[in-house]
Every structure is written in structure tokens, then in C-alpha cells.
Symmetry: C2
């Protein structure tokens, strides 16, 4: 039976979801829900509808899972609990510190409406979290390291764009190669924020802007840049459009642990991602977990889940027998 | 409530399990079961008993999970189904082609006795299988690569020891660095057996043995060596004891996949292990899954499972709330 999917929000992530749903043999896109005027929105899929978010309730019985593609700051804290009253839902809520609170709200809504919800799918939170959990369970005596990049941080790029005199900007987070190597070698270093990542900024100035002022504002910006070694390059809008329009990302999760009666044996677990398109890869993770949510719902489950609660076999379109024969 | 563990078989893996159980705050080792005379076997744990396998039935109600530490060739196909009639069981059965058959036998026994069993825990099958499944679900359009090593293959070392004139031997499987790099770069190469791994052998000859004969026998041995570039070094027993007594291993699982309307974005997922002690790391995986088996049993589950069927949260001693707050 084909899984009918709704997409709620059509930005970079929504477009990635559309792509991933169309690539999945067991899914079809029913509708994209938008806050914009539906007639103004062109989507890639020919058979799916574009519908105003105001009309979402009419789709209550036509959609097996609603995939939320809004932002974590203001959209998802409101939208995920609200839509969980009508649909099975999945989101990629990524404000780590607020996950317990978000979980509580979504869980209440999903339990009341007898639906299944899954929050915080993606790669961090998501695949990186899973790798931290597995590695900690296997090697209880050890140390965790997470590195991000090289990749575009949209939040940091936005922060630069808000500085007076800046026309456009792209910020890359880069792991420090020597720190990566030290972890990979099993040296178990203690690393400060500055020792783990550098920040690389490409900035287009408005005409007549003060470059020295902009550079100073970036480098001294608290939370975003002041704890890092930051490099600022001023380039033209043409260069930025030509060389920095993609959304690559990635990163590394390590656990370095010990076993043996005298901790005499060292082990390194490393998981890494190199992604040309952050939103399209994130969409791949979300769509696999959307499949799991629908299966759990069909089995009679209710309530909010995270990637920690989902048996891996639920993610695959293959049967348990096929998986054991081909992948175990 | 402390999980009471039995270990069935006390070779390298059994000793690793003992170590991992003693390191787990929520487990205790009740007894080691052996085919040898129990009075001849010294174990590291002071409070656990050493018991003959003939007396195992008397422990039916004293053990929450029996961890089987025998070999896949002849021990586990018999022992796992037999013990699943009396206990929750877990094994590390690793003959990939015979997993469906083994699953069937163990599942029948566990369903009849209303116990939970888990087969093929470890790192391959095990963590590598999980990574194949996750990566295939996320990137359905892509290619898988698995590399093993650098590490000691005990089966290949044994095969060399059976050659006339060989006193002792240690065989290392080594991934070909250029092949690894090609995969990591996203080049999606087609690789033959020979292009992926080399085999490195350290051999101690008996007095008067014919070195040229031994080297020829190794390099031409079908299945084991003839499809690989094999290097043979003759060394003394002292050198072998000094430099090659450990059991290191490891490897790499890659998925290289595409997304986008025109497959224009490339993604690489890499999972790798560097292990000083293959049996102790394998034990770490098995003990985490043993915890999951006991929890499933306590929830009323029955039958045979694999790592694909286990939600990750079951592996950790932390609660779901703690996991969401600390690792997601």
C-alpha cells in the first residue's frame, strides 16, 4: 500500500523531501501545504496539489504522514503539536536544548489524537545522535567527539548578513584537521571550542561599506564567532553566486574507548558524512523515518518517538526476511 | 534490577564477555559454563561459578540471559537452538549465508519456550550490518562498499597452520589504501576482490621445512588466498610471540549515493572501526544487545531477533528521558 505524504512548508528542506518522496517506490506526494498564495507556488511534482495551510484539516483522512519543513526557532514548536492533532507527523526540530520540552508537547497532542509523531529526524540531531548512543552502549568507558563541516551554517550566514554594510554572506564551519587526526589516533585530547573548529566567511559588501568595521563585527560577535579563529574574505556578488551557492555539509562522530581488565585495549568508532546538499540528505533521513512512523501507526502505536525508539528494520522498504538475507 | 548473565564457552570471546559484563553497572556474571572439567578452569571473576555444560539446566531460573561464545561452524548451530529452550540467549553467529537457516531454528525454539533470542550480534554481522541498513534506507540510490582490516583473520591463520612444515602463523587482512581513497572521494569504482584487500602472512617454519613449498601452498590456496595479492614473511617464534600475539581488527562501511532531481548531489556515509581487540569489542556489542534482549523479554516479547529489530534505546542503561536530554 502506497504511503500518502503531505509536505508542510516548501523551502530548501521541503524541496528535498519532495525529491526523496518521488524517489521512494512505496510513497506518493499528495499535497504541499504553504503559507503563501497556493497559485503563486510552482512545485516539481506534476500530480501533487498545492494547498493553503488554512485548508489543511480537509486532508485529515487523505494523508498518512505530514512532514513538517519549517524552522526550529518559531515554526515547529507551534506547528508540530498542532498538526499532531490531525495527522501522523515528523519534523527535524534541531534546538538540542529544547528537545525535552518539544517532545512533551508533541507527545501530548499525538497521544490525545491517537497518532504517531517523530521529532528531531535528520543527521544532527538524527544519525549523529544514533551513533553517539550505539557507541556509548558498546564502549561505556570512553570519550565522545563530534566535529561539524566542512559545511555551510545558515544561521551564521544570516548573522553576518544582519551586520551594517553587508549585502550577502556565506559562512563555512571547518573542523581543525590536526584535532581530527589526534582523535582518530586515539590520543583522547581535551579540546577547546577554538581547537575543534574554525569559521570561514565569504562576505559581499554594499557599496561604500567599511570593510574593517564589518570584519571586526564578525570576529567579535559573541556565541557565533568570538570563540573561534575566524577568517573573512571579501568577494563580489558574482563570485559568491558562482562558488558558494551550494549547501554542502557533513561532520564526524567519534567514540574512543577502552576495554580489558586493565583498560589495555583501545578502540575507535568513527562515523562521518560528506554531503553535497544538507537539505537533500536530511530529507533522505526524514523520509526513511516517515516510513517507520506510518508502520508504527498501522501497528497501533501512539505518541511521540525519536530515532532512539525506532528499530532499524522499520526504515527499509525491504521485509525482515529480505534484510536478514541481504544486509546482515 | 541487576541482569544475571551466563557465559557459555570460555575462549577469547567468553573472556571478553566476562570483562564487559563486569564493566556494566546493571549486570552481574552468575556462571561460566564449560565443556572442560570445571575444576581445571580459572576465571577472572571472583563471585561467579564455573559449571559443567552438563549441569546447565539447573540454572534455568537463575540466569536472565545466556551468552553463547562458541564458533559458528559447529557449536552455535546446535547450541543456540538447544539453549533457547531454557534461556533467553544471544550469539554472534557469523556465517552470513546461513543466517536465514539459523534464524529459523532459533526462532522455533525461542517461540516454543517463550523466550527471546538474538543472533548474529557483533560488528560484522552486527554494527556493519546496521550501518548498511541505515545508509541504504537514507540513500536508496547508491552503492555499498565494505572493507575489513587491518586485522587478524583467525580462520586464515588456522589455514596456514595446517600446511606441512608450518609451526605457527598469523594472517592480516589489509584494505587497499588507494581503493579506500577512491571510494571516499565518491568515485564509485567497481572493485575486484584483489583490488579491495591484500593478505599479509607471518609464518614460523618447523625445523627443516621447505620455505618455497610453504609460500607456494599459501599463495595458491583457493578461497583463502588465491584471489588476493599475498605477502609471506618467515619469522621466528619469538618474533611472532612478541609482535603478533594481539587480535586487532577493524574495517570500513561506505555508502556512496545520489540525490536531486538529476542526481546532481553526491553523499558519502562512512562508518569505521579501529579495534585493538576484536573479541573484546565484539563482547561490548553483544553485552549491549544482551541488555536489550532481557528488556524485551520483560515486556512480554518472544522469538528470535537480530540487530535490525532492536530499537537503539534498548541498548543503553539510561532511560528514554535521559537519552533524549543527553544524546539526541
Amino acid at each position: 500500500m502506497t504511503i500518502k505524504v503531505g509536505i508542510y512548508g516548501y523551502g530548501n528542506l521541503g524541496k528535498g523531501i519532495e525529491c526523496a518522496v518521488n524517489a521512494a517506490s512505496d510513497m506518493e506526494l499528495t499535497a504541499v501545504f504553504t503559507r503563501r498564495d497556493p497559485s503563486s507556488l510552482k512545485i516539481a511534482s506534476k500530480t501533487a496539489k498545492v494547498v493553503s495551510v488554512n485548508d489543511v484539516e480537509a486532508y485529515k483522512d487523505q494523508i498518512d504522514i505530514m512532514i513538517l519543513c519549517g524552522g526550529s526557532a518559531t515554526d515547529l514548536p507551534v506547528q508540530t503539536p498542532a498538526l499532531a492533532k490531525m495527522f501522523n507527523v515528523i519534523d527535524s526540530f534541531d534546538t538540542h536544548a529544547k528537545i525535552p520540552e518539544h517532545f512533551k508537547h508533541v507527545n501530548e497532542a499525538a497521544c490525545n489524537s491517537k497518532h504517531v509523531a517523530l521529532i528531531s529526524a535528520g543527521w544532527d540531531p538524527g544519525m549523529f545522535s544514533l551513533n553517539r548512543l550505539y557507541a556509548n552502549a558498546i564502549l561505556p568507558d570512553g570519550k565522545d567527539y563530534t566535529f561539524w563541516g566542512k559545511g555551510v551554517s545558515q544561521g551564521h550566514s544570516d548573522a553576518i548578513r544582519r551586520i551594517k554594510g553587508v549585502q550577502d554572506a556565506r559562512q563555512y564551519t571547518c573542523p581543525v584537521e590536526t584535532a581530527l587526526e589526534a582523535v582518530r589516533s586515539g590520543a583522547n585530547p581535551d579540546l577547546t571550542t577554538r581547537q575543534k573548529h574554525t569559521r570561514l566567511c565569504y562576505v559581499v559588501l554594499k557599496e561604500g561599506a567599511d570593510a574593517a568595521y564589518v570584519e571586526r563585527e564578525i570576529k567579535n560577535m559573541p556565541n557565533y564567532f568570538s570563540d573561534y579563529d575566524t577568517t573573512v574574505h571579501f568577494i563580489s556578488q558574482e563570485e559568491l553566486n558562482r562558488d558558494h551557492k551550494g549547501l554542502p555539509h557533513g561532520g564526524f562522530v567519534f567514540r574512543s574507548g577502552f576495554t580489558g581488565a586493565n583498560r589495555e585495549h583501545k578502540h575507535i568508532i568513527e562515523y562521518s558524512l560528506k554531503l553535497d546538499s544538507n537539505p537533500e540528505f536530511t530529507a533522505g533521513v526524514i523520509v526513511a523515518y516517515a516510513r517507520a512512523v506510518v508502520r508504527l501507526y498501522n501497528e497501533g502505536c501512539v505518541g511521540c518517538k525519536t530515532v532512539f525508539d525506532i528499530a532499524p528494520s522499520y526504515l527499509s522498504p525491504l521485509s525482515a526476511e529480505e534484510l536478514r538475507a541481504s544486509m546482515l
